[in-house]
């Protein structure tokens, strides 16, 4: 601390204390008192900013901290405070830079070093982390958490041997000090064992495991690890014993049975006849030994084939149907990857249905009278079975029969809804699920499902009314409770519904909420960098870090980011707000629609204002929380640079889901529009490497090639592009290229509608004349011509995209395809005229 007379110096010390004790208001007063006399004291100015930051005045916070720095650039306190303010705002990169500055001035400041290490871990800068923690160990060798941190750092940067050395040194030093085994020591030793096993030396790991067994409290972990090591070392007899003992502990854990089979050398995917007999005999015994184990009954179905499969399945299905297990189909359908098994199950189930009709038994022996629920569950299963096969008619017939039999069973209506959804009739699907909901109003699962179906049918108001039945009633905006509870599914589904209805602003608002939730997840780990090494929960901590590293590859984020990027890309393409609806309209039609939309918008705005007024009035009395001031999400529509917003979503995907082709396809769309040809090329190359036969990729390649030909490109860029030309286009000209792509579709037994769409777009881009358009139309209509080939790929969604594509060509044949589609999907609302 610099140049303050004693009185103010003491006051400064007091305000530092205030910060530690979180007395921010008091601290602020103190700072102001000093500043009255010394308005140019940098460190006090910085502290004032820090207090503001915690009092939720972010702008003032940065102002004062920066002002402080200007007066005292050489103060580590100022830089430290600057770092703290950035950290409070979750801006870890900038915080890290400030800390570096602070340490340059005061390299042995213990507190700064400790914070610095946590930031480095947050940013996964393992080298830096290890270096920092090394210094902390040197400064405080008696402090356990730094030793642990050092070992963690080495382990995470892929140097388990160094990590091990640290652990051993530490354990040796501590051996005498800490002789009483406790949880923390137990966890430390187990972590030690994980590091050993990560080094691949299973022999040593096993030996270590045996040596720590007495001290370790997590006995299950010891047993599981030991069994694994035996297996890895090929000590199969011991492995067998170990897994049998684990099964005795928990006979419903698939992994244990898996281990047992492996230890018996019986884990191959396709078993020989002889081995199959062995496996089935083994399970016969296990079933006897553990009659209540579901896994022992279910697993043989995976291994048995042919007649033996039918026999085991027969017994299994009868038991489950008699008992009435609603999840039976979900459990069984994983076997349907094997066509033969699917057929065998169908034969069995149809047999039951026929016999139950006649004699109340599963067969005609008359030996057992089944409960009347047996026929109910049999129909329920078969309805799902036919739905799975894409036969909506048969499925509906069966489920309606079941409902006639027992109209009070909730599951039946849920399945009816599902079948109707698959048939494309979203409104009837919603009605069916709502019937289910009304049968059991206290079931949150059904309530949520029903909400989802309402959103699929684009009944947003009804959906919102339904979902808030289960959200907190004491806040001003109950829908916001869903955001606070991180209910991704609701946000995604409502965003997609808004999109279908052309309400891009509302949709984007939801996508940004989802993005923020994932950000919160990433931020949440920060506290654990200090906590876990102190509390020794090291195995869990390493797992957490690995989970966080994969965070943004979560399907929900991918789905949200994909749609958000598409929104921003189309905002860029059509800044005047042309929606998909306007595709192919004349100017005057567009004008009409736009003025209609504007009116709706104005009305919505007015409604929103009124709601706000109402809500504020209510808020004053009882309700907590804020009211949404921009429910329409207008601010997202007015964004200056939509591609920059798209990039924000894309960045996470590129960092953590770069091996997903969707990421690369989206990256292309953004970079291509930003005219970053090399980055666009990079995305194409990566996508090409992931799946060269991807449908969308073809269309993108054609667009890229046409653009490269047309636009003025720097020679240096051109050279790079030329270098990869062969890889991407096989040296073909575009017509040949698309021709070859299309020929693949024509030659293969199973066709894909998305590929046809991509080829059609490519054809229309290459030749914008009438002939080009006709070629494109012909390509799309292949799906109608070759029933057998494209039948499977002709889903409601795919055909919808195809129709949209025709519309974008302003094709006269749009209605023709729509009429075709209506015949293919008589129930689908999307194709009804």
């Amino acid at each position: 601390m610099r140049d303050l007379p004693q009185k103010e110096g003491n006051l400064f010390k007091q305000i530092l204390k205030c910060y530690e004790l979180r007395q921010y208001k008091k601290g602020l007063k103190g700072a102001e008192q000093i500043l009255k006399k010394f308005p140019e004291h940098g460190e006090t100015l910085a502290m004032k900013g820090l207090f503001y930051s915690h009092l939720d005045k972010k702008e003032e916070a940065y102002d004062f901290v920066k002002k402080g720095l200007r007066y005292d650039l050489k103060s580590h306190v100022c830089w430290h405070v600057f770092g703290l303010v950035y950290r409070a705002d979750k801006n870890y990169e900038e915080a890290l830079k400030c800390y570096s500055q602070a340490l340059r001035i005061d390299k042995d400041n213990f507190q700064i070093l400790r914070d610095f290490a946590n930031l480095q871990m947050q940013l996964r800068n393992f080298e830096g982390y290890v270096e920092t923690v090394h210094r902390l160990v040197d400064m405080q060798p008696q402090n356990r958490q730094f030793w642990i941190g050092l070992s963690l750092g080495y382990h995470l940067m892929g140097k388990p041997d160094s990590s091990l050395k640290v652990l051993t040194t530490y354990e040796e030093a501590m051996a005498e000090a800490n002789s009483k085994p406790d949880y923390e020591q137990s966890e430390l030793l187990l972590y030690h064992n994980v590091v050993l096993s990560d080094m691949g030396d299973h022999e040593a790991a096993l030996e270590h495991l045996n040596s720590i067994e007495k001290i370790v409290l997590d006995k299950k972990a010891i047993k599981e690890q030991r069994a694994k090591f035996y297996l890895a070392l090929g000590r199969l007899e011991e492995a067998e014993t170990a897994y049998r003992s684990l099964i005795a502990h928990n006979p419903d854990n698939f992994a244990y049975f898996d281990g047992l089979l492996k230890s018996l050398g019986l884990s191959a995917d396709k078993l020989s006849d002889e081995d199959q007999t062995k496996v089935l005999d083994l399970f016969k015994d296990l079933k006897k030994e553990y009659p209540r184990s579901n896994v022992a009954k279910r697993l043989p179905l995976r291994f048995a084939t042919g007649e033996r499969f039918s026999k085991i399945a027969d017994e299994y299905l009868r038991t489950m149907l008699r008992k009435g297990v609603p999840s039976l189909f979900v459990n069984i359908k994983t076997l349907y990857t094997d066509r033969e098994k699917e057929q065998a199950i169908e034969t069995l189930m149809l047999g039951y249905l026929a016999h139950l009709h006649k004699s109340q038994g599963f067969d005609n022996s008359g030996a057992v009278v089944e409960p009347p629920t047996a026929i109910l569950w049999t129909r329920y299963f078969l309805a799902q079975h036919y739905d799975f096969k894409g036969d909506s008619d048969e499925a509906l017939k069966l489920i309606n029969k079941a409902i006639e039999h027992t109209p009070t069973l909730v599951e039946l209506y849920m399945t009816k809804g599902r079948i109707l959804k698959h048939a494309g009739d979203y409104v009837s699907a919603m009605e069916a699920v709502n019937e289910a909901r009304e049968l059991d109003l206290q079931d949150r699962f059904i309530n949520s499902k029903c909400t989802k179906y309402m959103l699929r049918a684009d009944k947003v108001a009804e959906a919102e009314k339904t979902i808030i039945l289960f959200s907190r009633a004491d806040i001003a905006d109950p829908l916001n409770d869903l955001v606070e509870m991180q209910a991704y599914w609701f946000l995604i589904e409502s965003a997609e519904s808004h999109l279908r209805q052309g309400q891009t602003g509302r949709a984007l608002k939801r996508f940004h909420q989802i993005e923020k939730m994932f950000g919160d997840f990433a931020d949440d780990q920060f506290d654990f960098h200090a906590y876990c090494p102190r509390k020794m929960t090291l195995r869990a901590y390493v797992k957490l870090l690995k989970l966080e590293d994969q965070l943004y590859s979560h399907p929900y984020y991918l789905r949200a980011a994909q749609s958000a990027i598409r929104c921003y890309v189309s905002l860029f393409d059509k800044p005047d707000g042309d929606s998909d609806e306007m595709e192919g309209m004349t100017e005057s039609e567009k004008k009409k629609l736009r003025s209609k939309q504007r009116k709706a918008e104005l009305k919505a705005q007015k409604d929103a204002e009124e709601n706000k007024k109402k809500a504020v009035a209510v808020q004053d009395t009882t309700k907590k929380g804020k009211v949404d001031e921009d429910p329409e999400g207008l601010k997202y529509l007015k964004i200056e640079d939509p591609l920059a917003e798209a990039l924000k979503f894309l960045r996470h995907l590129e960092a953590l889901a770069s091996d997903r082709i969707e990421t690369q396809l989206l990256a292309f769309e953004v970079y291509f529009r930003k005219n970053k040809m090399l980055l666009a090329l990079k995305a194409l190359l990566k996508a090409h490497k992931i799946d060269a036969s991807n449908a969308t990729l073809h269309e993108q390649l054609v667009r890229f090639s046409l653009a490269v030909r047309k636009s003025e490109i720097k020679p240096s860029t051109k050279t790079v592009i030329d270098k990869h030309w062969e890889t991407l286009y096989h040296g073909q000209d575009l017509a040949t290229f698309t021709g070859a792509f299309l020929k693949q579709q024509k030659d293969s037994a199973v066709g894909s509608v998305p590929h046809l769409i991509s080829a059609a777009i490519a054809a229309s881009l290459m030749d914008s004349s009438k002939a080009g358009k006709e070629t494109a139309e012909e390509i799309l209509f292949l799906m109608a011509k070759e029933e057998a080939k494209f039948g499977k790929s002709r889903s409601v969604e795919n055909v919808q995209v195809a129709i949209k594509t025709l519309k974008s060509f302003k094709s006269a044949r749009t209605q023709e395809l729509k009429a075709q589609a209506a015949a293919w999907f008589p129930r689908a609302t999307a194709f009804q005229v």
């Binding site: 008699r322 629920t373 026929i375 009070t408």
Partner: protein, 182 residues
């Protein structure tokens, strides 16, 4: 009501069935959350459409309205109405509906429902005391008539034009006296 598809009333089958783990039954309360199940049952079982007020009252009668589960599926129910008798310290109980879905008949579910009502009505804790239980059965519904007679009910009156909206308009009134009225 249509008769069940299979007649399983022979006593031997019934006893083995009842001991079978695959034949479980249990009574359940009616709550605002599951009253939808009762509504659905009544729509299927009875030709009369009951007003919302009917279901509101059901929620007030406690043990005198129940649903019954067979293997965890709701398949039947009973709804009664309490009636005060002018100038008497006792009350009457009117069984408004009692029914079981067709596939689940002859398994003892109806008896279980009725017995529950009879037991509750005669419990010491029930106040005021129930002096009699009564109900109406449409002409021609021999199955129901037999059922109630088996449980000690007697026909006390023929009510002409009791169901004016149906083809068969007449009904029997049956009752069972629990406490001799004073």
């Amino acid at each position: 009501m249509t008769p069940p598809a299979i007649n399983m009333s022979s006593s031997t089958t019934t006893t083995t069935l009842k001991n079978n783990a695959a034949f479980r039954m249990s009574l359940g309360d009616i709550t605002p959350n599951n009253v939808g199940q009762l509504k659905r049952l009544n729509v299927v079982l009875f030709p009369v459409a009951y007003a919302p007020s009917f279901y509101k009252e059901i929620l007030e009668v406690g043990e005198f309205a129940k649903i019954i589960y067979f293997n965890d599926v709701c398949v039947g129910g009973v709804c009664c109405r309490k009636e005060t008798v002018a100038g008497s310290a006792t009350q009457n109980l009117y069984i408004a509906t009692l029914g079981v879905l067709a596939p689940y008949r002859r398994l003892g579910l109806g008896s279980k429902l009725l017995n529950h009502i009879l037991e509750t009505a005669t419990e010491a804790s029930t106040t005021p005391k129930v002096s009699k239980i009564y109900l109406h059965v449409q002409f021609g519904n021999e199955e129901a008539l037999e059922f109630y007679k088996k449980h000690g009910f007697e026909v006390v009156e023929k009510c002409e034009n009791y169901y004016p909206q149906f083809e068969v308009k007449d009904a029997y009134k049956l009752e069972k006296v629990l406490v001799a009225s004073n």
